[in-house]
Amino acid sequence: MPPSSRRKKPRVVLFAAAVALLATASWLMSMGDSSPPGSAKRQVEFPKSPRTSEWQRIESRRTYQAPSPTQAAEEEIIDQPLRDPLLYALASGPGETRVVIEANALRHSPLGELMIDCLRPQESQEFTRLQERLGIDPLADLDRVAMSGSAVVLTGNFGRLNWEEFEEASDSRAHGDAGTIFQPRSDAGAVAAVWRDELIIFAPEAGAAEEAIDRIEGRLQAEPALAEGESYGEVYGRISVEQLVALMGLEQDELAGRLRSAAKEVDLHVDASGDVAISADIRGPRGSELDDLGRSLAGAISLARLEARRQGEAELAELLDFAGVQRGEGQFTLELALPLELIRRHLQDACGGPVALGLEE
């Protein structure tokens, strides 16, 4: 073997040893990091538009064809598109809050499963009694719960619902083609209305319930409260800034003032098909103010995250790891996520440990 090859061989070994040592050093040092890299890097998919399954859901809900408002020739009636009755039942005035909760999808989501598992035997018995009294199983027969202004609308399969209690306490009358209004005899209590055994409306006064039925059946011309393309996620809707400020308990806060002046409304989407991902699109007429607000929020989240790490508040830091602000033209999107594992840990505490939850690993 020539001397140069003899010398090359140990050199190759030295180089390989250097690389191997560096790799081992890197692995060892990563073990000493406060949290293993990658643990907090799990990707959370934030809701941005309807997925294929959600488009299918939207299509399956186009069940009603409203008669032509002009009562004209039959061919014009055929031209009326099929519609989702719920989206018309909700009031759609400017600045009106309207939120839809996909109760059935939520119940079958990992979050819903955790919540159901959390029910203690005593609570389960109460739930069974309620089921017998109502005549329906809310976990199976209730599809959506929606709120608009002061009205609440439920959709689902209410054919077996026990109306006796309503009928005893109310005067019922038909309204429109398929609606029935239950007007309570006393002043107390909300007016209830049922439409085609698939939609129940609770409203503070009969007029609001009648209007909702009129909107569904096309007698009252109105745009749907939410476009079909906006109905994705397990919770979605539009919240007025005032309502948002009140919900967050920020009435007296400086942030509330800035929100009121810069933003007009907030589009909310919550996806609970895995980790709970919350996306809030904040829009407003004053682009520069909104941009400043977005920047401030992004900075505040970063600072809070660093502070949480510094203070050793691992759980808060973990939550803030998934928070962020995406800025766009005339709007910004605030994204927040609750990892399922974190919810599971909290529910375990609240529900008496993993055995009660039936979630042993």
């Binding site: 010398r7 140990p10 050199r11 030295l14 180089f15 040893a17 250097a18 690389v19 040592l21 560096l22 081992t24 050093a25 890197s26 692995w27 060892l28 040092m29 990563s30 073990m31 000493g32 990091d33 406060s34 949290s35 890299p37 907090a40 890097k41 990707q43 970063s302 995250r305 660093l306 790490r309 510094r310 803030l320 790891d321």
Partner: protein, 278 residues
């Protein structure tokens, strides 16, 4: 191994003959003397009644003396750590390049020495200088505070040891760089680069979430993963000096990784050295 010891001993003698290493010793001694004569304590039943530094009241009356002196121990650990590493990078940057000066290197290679022994001996010699300086300063402070306040803790000395260990990894990389470019300035620049990268790497868990998911985040994750966690070690040194709880497992992983990083840099330096004609 005897050859390695001889090289290290020669380097130590060379360092001691340099004026600024003597000056370093003088500065540390001066600092200790200043602390000795300017810190005044009044300790009553294990509690600190008053503390005065240069005649100024430092507060903390009525506290347990261990707690009251925590800030002094922690502050001195940081000064020893960051000050020691910074001084080490500047003062030791020309040992590697001067080893390779034409004439001297030929002389060294004509001796019954293998090239790796020359490199490892130089590295150990520099590490000894760094450790001597750090332990002298921290040990002196421990003795002064122990004598004046009755608080005996080995914390500052352990912190000084951690500083020396951190410097050992930095110096191994500096030595490797000087085998590519025989320049004290570039060697020091490489040392400072690694030093600052190590400070950032220590906070990588806090910094990583600030990156958007994607290529930038992955590049930072991989690059920072290769660098010794200098700031984590500094934080641990401060915690040890202040008798605070330390994640010993994390510290062990960091120290182990640091030593392997130094070994990797020395292997790379030897690989380069073996490939040179002289």
């Amino acid at each position: 191994m005897r050859a390695v010891g001889h090289v290290a001993g020669d380097l130590l003698r060379e360092a001691l003959s340099r004026k600024w290493f003597m000056a370093l010793g003088g500065v540390i001694t001066l600092g200790l003397v200043l602390v000795l004569f300017s810190l005044r304590f009044e300790v009553v039943d294990g509690a600190l009644a008053t503390t005065r530094l240069f005649g100024e009241d430092l507060g903390g009356r009525g506290e347990a003396v261990e707690l009251a002196l925590r800030a002094i121990f922690e502050g001195s650990a940081w000064v020893v750590f960051y000050g020691g590493v910074t001084f080490g990078i500047v003062a030791c940057s020309d040992f590697g390049p001067s080893l390779l000066v034409p004439g001297r290197i030929e002389l060294l290679l004509s001796l019954p020495l293998r090239r790796w022994e020359l490199l490892v001996g130089t590295w150990i010699g520099v590490l000894m200088i760094a450790t001597l300086g750090a332990v002298y300063g921290a040990g002196g402070l421990t003795l002064i505070l122990g004598w004046k306040a009755g608080v005996w803790t080995i914390g500052p000395v352990v912190a000084a040891g951690l500083a020396s260990l951190s410097f050992s990894a930095i110096y191994a990389a500096m030595l490797a760089v000087s085998l590519w470019v025989r320049s004290a300035a570039l060697s020091a620049a490489a040392g400072f680069l690694l030093f600052f990268a190590g400070i950032i790497a220590g906070y990588r868990d806090s910094i990583l979430p600030a990156f958007k998911p994607g290529a930038g985040r992955e590049i930072f994750r991989v690059a920072s993963g290769l660098v010794p966690r200098i700031s984590s070690l500094a934080d641990d040194a401060r915690a040890i000096a202040g008798s605070r709880p330390v994640d010993l497992q994390g510290l062990a992983f960091n120290v182990g990784g640091l030593l392997l990083f130094a070994a990797a840099a020395l292997a790379l330096a030897t690989w380069r050295f073996e490939g040179r004609d002289s």
